[in-house]
Amino acid sequence: MIEDDLRAAFARHEALTPPTGPVRTAIDRAVVRRRRRRLRLRLAGTALAVVAAALAGFTAIAPRQPAPAIPLGEPPPPTPTGALNVLLLGVDGYEGRQYRLADSALLVHVPADRSRLYLVSLPRYLEVSVPGHGADKLNYAFLQGAGEPRPDLSRGYRVTRDAVADTLGVRIDAGAVLTYPLVRKLTDAVGGVEVCLPQRVRSVHTDRVFPAGCQRLDGTDSVDLLRQRVGLPDGVLDRDRNAERYAAGLLRRLQERDTFTNPLVVNSLLQHLSSGLVVDAGASSLPALALVAAQAATAEPVGLLPPGVHVEKPDLRFRLDPALGPGFLDALRTDRLGEWASAHPGQATTLR
């Protein structure tokens, strides 16, 4: 009977079946490829959104873990000594977006004598060496670390931190990732921040005009200002300078309210911010760092832009100036930024 022959033929040829192991591996590999391709298409499709996002500067501080509440009655953790470098990353984007870029980076240098704070802007297209990836722009280092489609801000922070540390040859002792909502919350929690602008800034996002001079901004307006670069004479660099101005205003505000020195106030502020805050306190702790900041913040901070040159190829990048760069790096590494800043007044930012 033909039916029986059919059954027999099928049974005989079962032996042709390939083993499942390699097939399984091939499937998984193909899935990864297909997902990547989908993502690329999606990214291309949202190119406009990316451009818009690139206009958005400041994003957020991403802590390694939720900021711990400080138990009262416990002895304060040891206060760090020596010079400190704190890396603050402002990332763009919003909840649910598939990728984040670190478009604002501020290296806060605290000298060993705690005389003042140095706010060093690192332009978002600063060329850094990403461990395992080679040279890339700073904001992409964050993207590579954070990954897609569910950005991990802590990993983004760590990869960026390592890349910056490698490139500048300095140790980064602590840091944080700031998102828009966090900046908004932080600003509102301290009752607004006074920012002093040398020139008027018009928001391309909201049409709001920030006049030249000092003004107190609430959370929403601060984020709006920190995102602006289009229309500014120096574009990204001017936006970075405005971030320094905002940081200086925030420090003044914290100082006025004795936030640094009152553990209760620090505690409540951190708890207020804790959701979504990525903070890396390094070997130290947040309260200890707050004390250090308090000491150093009594004097007016100094805003600095590293001396750099623009490179057009393969894409627009910022590299340290071959002539002035080594001197700047040396000053940063050996804790002599004050001397360097006085010798190079052109690199300083007017903060007030």
């Binding site: 033909i2 039916e3 022959d5 059919l6 059954r7 027999a8 033929a9 099928f10 005989r12 040829h13 079962e14 042709l16 079946t17 390939p18 499942t20 097939v23 399984r24 091939a26 499937i27 998984d28 193909a30 899935v31 297909r34 997902r35």
Partner: protein, 160 residues
């Protein structure tokens, strides 16, 4: 059920089914791989169905039936491989070599071959075959009888 559990349990059976459909281990692998990639990417939808395995079998069968011409080139090429050819001496002496049945299967339209595999290899009832192929039960039956008729005609040719 997760995709991993499903693959652990069913990947072997799907590969065997694909071998019966395509008659060729490499093509079977391609077919299963292509299907399972889509299964994994859309696992939530697959898992929501009543019987995920039947859903996947249906995907795989459709993929096979709709497979485009591109794969024909490969198929013809593979047919020329020596171990796929029946030994010429065999059918002279006996009624019909079983491998001969196997090679006749490859000349059937794919849909007909699929119905034969589902009935005589997977031993599924007509209703389930109809569901997998997305057609009426009556269509399944006529499909099978036409396929069997074709094979019988080959028999007659060889045996006469």
């Amino acid at each position: 059920m997760t995709y991993e559990e499903f693959a652990d349990a069913r990947l072997g059976a799907l590969l065997r089914y694909a071998v019966m459909l395509t008659g060729d281990p490499h093509q079977a692998q391609d077919l299963v791989q292509e299907t399972m990639v889509r299964v994994q990417l859309n696992w939530r939808r697959v898992a929501r169905s009543d019987v995920p395995e039947r859903y996947v079998r249906r995907m795989l069968t459709n993929q096979y039936v709709d497979w485009r011409r591109g794969s024909w080139a490969r198929r013809v090429l593979l047919r020329a491989e020596p171990d796929d050819l029946p030994a010429p001496a065999d059918h002279a002496q006996s009624a019909v070599d079983r491998d001969q049945v196997w090679s006749w299967l490859s000349r059937l339209p794919r849909r007909q071959r699929a119905t034969l595999v589902l009935r005589y290899y997977e031993d599924l009832p007509d209703a389930e075959i109809a569901e997998i192929l997305g057609c009426a039960v009556g269509t399944v039956r006529s499909c099978i009888s036409r396929a069997l008729a074709t094979l019988r005609a080959e028999y007659v040719e060889v045996c006469s």
